[in-house]
Amino acid sequence: MRRFALIAVPYFWLLALFLVPFAIVFKISLSDIALSIPPYLPQLDLAKGWKGFTKFLGALDFENFEFLMMDDLYYKAYLSSLKIAAISTFLTLLIGYPIAYAMTRASEEWRPTLLMLVILPFWTSFLIRVYAWIGILGQEGFLNQTLMFLGLTSEPLIILNTPIAVYIGIVYTYLPFMILPIYSALEKLDDSLLEAAEDLGCSRIKAFWLVTFPLSRGGIIAGCFLVFIPTLGEFVIPSLLGGSNTLMIGKVLWDEFFSNRDWPLASAVAVILLLILIIPIILFQRNEQKQRESEG
């Protein structure tokens, strides 16, 4: 009995505030926009009993999804989000791996400090970290002033409000999510394996590709998912750094909801985004479970 209560409290909380809301999103994605409060129809009228329910079901349709397929704005926004998420995940891995690797090479007493230096930005406001780049990347920003002072360019580079600024913003804010899992995978690595490889005639670089890199795969996979999945629906970075030139689905959903007040269409956008994300989320979870089992 006590065990049941212990399980039930967090279980029902998550059911009610995580799973049920998705069902509601799905339901509303099948509704139509209307000038009412809340701004969609049909409303479920339980006072009319069973008849009200069947009438309600009859009024649901897939119109919003058809609209999403027809209008190429949405189709392009999904594709461009996937592209931006994939490229920036790759860039984050490229920058994060050497940092994580170097951290494990540092001496024992330095490692906690380095680790804290990676975690510290994670505790600092995400919004502020993105905002900091507006002042750096702008036409009269810090970067352009420095470049022009050094005589590297004669005209200010236009970076803010382009996809490049979005890549910089994503790599910057998600870098700790890539470094930490890779670091913890590399940290567990047994040094004698590398020594064995070198004794057997491997060069250092070859030993790295044959031993270190494959053994850090779990960390790499976890890091890539931790960057890729949230980036796909990212809203703050494209709207502050990307300007109107960057199309991302999180921003489209936001505008559909807050500017156009089309709740059913926003819900349909969310449902498709969720369908795209289900596979990577399941893969991520499998990877986590595998990691945990290999530890325990």
């Binding site: 065990r3 399980i7 509601i24 949230p230 969310a270």
Partner: protein
């Protein structure tokens, strides 16, 4: 074998420069006396003064702190419970679903979480305000708490708890007297994590708040949409300072606790 090559040193230097320079620049420019944030016109703290007189920001800061304290406390209780269930409860019906619901919110795009919670609150007729933001924040931060706590619980030596039970304590007493003190560091860092996540959240708060409750990130976002503003630089500097002091002192405290624990263990072994 473990040594830093020049390549390692370079990647560390460049990596940390990349992580920290933007924030350093932001902090420096918050002391700029010019309204034009890109031109340096001399040292001044006037933007901090302006910020302190800005009622709207102060109100929003108060709402944000209230939400963060409440939601992180609820999230810590629920998240610790969830972690206990994940690690200890063994098999039960719907366990896969349960662990899925713990891990999915960690990576779920915020726009989806925000939209779905808003539609739920409207559906059940809850007025949007401080309470709805607290409910929303509790839900996503309890998952973070339970991940942090469960990783500590899974390395915990079960026999300690069994010993307490054998010696006649009730399961609740065993939890309170044995398990809780041992997992306390993880519970505390879970609370801190939940607190900062709540302070930081823009997207979910925008969806779930009403006109009566504006949080600081919502205020900051609407201000910086129009570009850089020196007041926001000053506000950011204050927030960065608080976080830096907090994280560094927390890590010093936990280091000292670890040292003390080691000494005690050594003494126990010796006697």
């Amino acid at each position: 074998m473990r040594r830093l090559t020049w390549f390692n040193t370079t990647s560390l230097t460049l990596g940390f420069a990349f992580l920290y320079l933007p924030m350093v620049i932001l902090v420096i420019y918050s002391f700029n006396s010019s309204k034009l944030v890109t031109v340096w016109a001399g040292f001044s703290t006037k933007w901090y003064g302006e910020l302190m007189r800005n009622e709207a920001f102060l109100d929003a800061a108060w709402v944000t702190i209230k939400v963060a304290v409440l939601s992180s406390t609820f999230a810590t209780v629920l998240g610790t419970l969830a972690a206990y269930v994940l690690v200890r409860a063994g098999r039960f019906w719907g366990r896969t679903l349960f662990s899925g619901m713990i891990y999915a919110p960690l990576v779920m795009p915020e726009v989806i979480t925000g939209l779905s919670l808003l539609l739920l609150f409207i559906g059940i007729g809850l007025d949007r305000g401080v309470m709805t933001i607290v409910l929303a924040h509790t839900t996503f931060s309890m998952c973070y708490v339970s991940v942090v706590v469960s990783s500590r619980l899974s390395t915990f030596d079960m026999s300690l708890e069994e010993a307490a039970l054998d010696l006649g304590s009730t399961p609740f007493e065993a939890f309170r007297l044995v398990t809780l003190p041992i997992i306390a560091p993880a519970v505390i860092s879970g609370w801190l994590l939940a607190f900062t996540l709540s302070l930081d959240d823009l997207v979910i708060a925008s969806f779930t708040s009403g006109p009566s409750a504006t949080t600081l990130p919502i205020k900051i976002f609407s201000a910086v949409r129009l570009g850089v503003s020196p007041e926001i630089n000053a506000l950011s500097t204050i927030m960065i300072a608080i976080v830096t002091v907090g994280v560094i002192s927390a890590s010093l405290i936990s280091k000292r606790a670890a040292v003390r624990q080691r000494l005690e263990e050594q003494q126990a072994v010796r006697s």
